[in-house]
């Protein structure tokens, strides 16, 4: 008779608890190491790329007209004469002390600049993803359900347009139509000049600041400035999200549990929204989180067209001038956003589907 697999000694309860704790701290430790490595890698890559791009960082500070001795002095002040590894070491040790340096373009500490630029992008991206996911997911579901039908085709074309039309052009056209011709929304910029000096900035988020102060006119004005660029970003993420939703949904609708549910006589609505979509939501969360991350990086072109002083413009402008402190600072922020969102997606993943691991193994 086959004795079967050797039986392990039963583990006493208190030891089991300790083991669980050990495993948890192990997971946490591994997680922290991964994050740390990600940051170091991010910094190193950005730093060294920044040093090999064919732009002289001194030029951004002293300009084209500076006499040679001024150029040489500033080069030394910036530490650019030191070996690359030493420059990197100095930078990283300063960052560890919380000093991200000063931007040469704005003369401000980098973190102060980012504290100003990021809320502008945050407002735009958040409203954008709400629009993108809020409309994109139902559209995708609809397209999947009516696969090959008119709706599916319309959604497909909308998605294609979203992918292929340059956002720059579409932004300008949207401004021409909704701002210049129809006058439905306010124009470029975050708020009208009239409100510029009546507001106290607390969070940097205009909607929040105006609402806190009870300045509803200013709130409406800020919203009116926000709605168009946010819709535009929303549309672009919608294009992607609806395509992904459609394909996840098709996958789910072909599963046996759907047939079983139908056989049980469940209503089609219930099957689609309560069963299929719920399962499709698992991978969809990652898609939405990454789209959101992409928007939070700041969309340079949208920000340019809409004169929106956000993170994308800040980063691009800094890069073009080899303002490396600013570039590195912004990169760390963007990196943190992605790490944070990935983590959030993982957590949601597990909340939505407790059997995540089992499914992974089965696939």
């Amino acid at each position: 008779m086959d004795p079967g697999p050797p039986q392990r000694d039963p583990i006493p309860a208190d030891v089991r608890g300790d083991l669980r704790l050990l495993r948890a701290s192990n997971v946490l430790g591994r997680f922290l190491v991964v994050i740390l490595l990600t940051y170091v890698g991010l910094l190193a890559v950005t730093f060294f790329i920044g040093r090999v791009i064919p732009i002289d960082p001194v030029l951004a500070i002293v300009g084209d007209r500076a006499p040679e001795h001024v150029v040489a002095r500033v080069r030394e002040e910036l530490g650019l004469n030191k070996p690359l590894w030493e420059q990197f070491y100095i930078y990283v040790s300063k960052v560890l002390q919380g000093d991200f340096g000063t931007s040469v373009l704005t003369s401000n500490p980098v973190m102060q600049d980012i504290r100003r630029a990021f809320p502008a992008t945050f407002e735009l991206a958040t409203l954008g993803i709400v629009i993108g996911a809020g409309i994109g997911v139902p559209l995708g579901v609809w397209a999947a359900v009516r696969r090959g039908g008119v709706v599916d085709q319309v959604v497909r074309v909308m998605g294609l347009i979203g992918y292929s039309i340059p956002i720059f052009w579409l932004g300008l056209m949207a401004l021409v139509v909704f701002y210049a011709r129809l006058g439905w929304v306010a124009g470029p910029g975050r708020i009208d000049v009239v409100y510029e000096y009546t507001l106290v900035s607390v969070t940097g988020l205009l909607l929040l600041d105006t609402a806190r102060a009870g300045e509803w006119q200013a709130f409406a004005n800020a919203m009116s400035h926000l709605i168009l660029p946010a819709s535009l970003l929303g549309y672009f993420s919608l294009a992607y999200i609806s395509r992904m939703t459609r394909s996840f949904m098709l996958n789910e609708l072909a599963q046996e549990y759907v047939v079983a549910a139908r056989a049980k006589g469940l209503s089609e609505t219930r099957i689609i929204w309560r069963h299929a979509l719920r399962n499709a939501m698992v991978p969809l969360v990652t898609v939405i989180a990454l789209s959101y991350g992409g928007l939070l990086e700041g969309s340079v072109l949208t920000e340019t067209v809409f004169a929106w002083p956000g993170l994308g413009l800040y980063l691009t402008n800094s890069l073009q001038n080899a303002d490396m402190n600013a570039v590195l600072g912004a990169t760390i922020v963007v990196g943190s956003i992605f790490i944070g969102l990935n983590l959030l997606a993982d957590l949601l993943y597990q909340t939505l589907d407790p059997r995540t691991r089992a499914i992974k193994r089965a696939r």
Binding site: D56, V62, P138, V145, L172, V176, A180, W273, A307
Partner: protein, 536 residues
Amino acid sequence: MKHFLMTRRLLGAAVLSALLAALTFIPVQAATPKDTLVVVFAFDDIITMDPAEAFEISAGEIMGNTYDRLVRFDVSDPSKLYGDVANGWTVSPDGKTFSFDLKPGLKFASGNALTAEDVVFSLQRAVLLDKTPAFILTQFGFSKSNVKDRIKQTGPLTLTIETDKSFAPSFVLNCLTANVAAIVDKKLVLSKEQNNDLGYGWLKTSYAGSGPLKLREWRANEIVALERNDNYYGEKAKLARVIYRHVKEAATQRLLLEKADADVARNLTPQDLAALAGNKDIKTTSTPKGTVYYFSLNQKNPTLAKAEVREAFKWLVDYAAIGDTLIKNIGVVHQNFLPVGLLGASTENPYKLDVDKAKALLAKAGVPNGFKVTVDMRTVQPVQGITEAFQQTAKRAGIDVEILPGDGKQTLTKYRARTHDIYIGQWGADYWDPHTNADTFARNPDNADDAKSKPLAWRNSWVIPELTKKADAAVLERDAAKRKAMYEEMQADFRKNSPFVMLYQQTEVAAMRSDVEGLKLGPTSDSTYMFKVSKK
């Protein structure tokens, strides 16, 4: 079917709520406030608000409006100087000592009195800090060690400035109109001093002046807010506020202007300007600027160093076509290194497109079948269009031009390292005197790689001992008529022999709402005076 109805209902709700959101927030269509001028302007070049350091075009305009100086030039006739805080001045017989007396009772925006002590401090400070524009002052022989003896206070309202050579008085005074000679509030600046930095760390983002407008706030790449300075000695600014909004994209600037959300738009393209021409609510004003555009041929390239090849290139540009299309309204063909408006500037434009002449010259140079060459080009208009047009015309003479596009700072880095073949560039006058351009186009005192000064002639490795001597002599010539003749002679030589193919002089255009009055663009960036502007 039910699910379909359900989704349709959902979608309907989504569309409806989006529409409602849009409708709820219809903005009140108000023009800009009556007492505020809103200017849309691409000012991402500003990196500092300290006049001892500010040297960028947009920063220049802010300095011109917010800081006073000893003397200014008349915007309508830049050859005329008038005292700003100076009541008057005299020049010693040997031409080396300039004595100024100041207007009495002057005050800074802070309320502090403005005296000779502040003027002396400001000029000394610029020399001691030794930032980029300091050379405008140090060319008179000031150094960190001697400036305290050379620039001296002689009374509460009097001071003297002593130069090391007897320069043309107009040259010295013209340099004193520059931003670097702006007067800062000594008491205020020193109260913010840290580690003996003469208040540099603080003034980078702050304000300590006495001009007709005062700086309220600079948020990089976002806003510059100026307010009327009620302590100003002269006629007070007509408007309470001037707000510059950073709008990079020309098409966006145009929309804001058309919708009256901006009063003035500063960076429109020729296409935008043409489209606005029929709009009766919008008018334009323009002024020739001190900026010239050119192609330059690196003389380190042996082919480009041949005299005939240099000349051939001058016949291979279709100036007329470029003038009629690419730079229409924003520039005028100009083939000299001195922009019109500066003393002695020539208006002779002998070159036109003549492929046969160019071919003959190339044959004479021993390259009858042409050659291959690269051009480093910034990807901005009209530079890009001009370079592409040049590529076509050069091809007709057998020259194969490869365009290397790049970002501004990137092409400039290469240019400064002298590793280009051909570069398309621009040069704006640093101060309103012909020496500013002669100094860079027609002087190359040392062509070594580690030279102390690296003017444009150096960047193209153009060795010109004779021309350098002439340029040096011209700044010392105290007779204005003779000085003028010297610059004319240098330009004639330059037109014929230089490795610079001069293209055009920039015209700056501003478009504004019809109710804006009194806006005149100055020939330099620091002479566009917003404090003179009013609204009907």
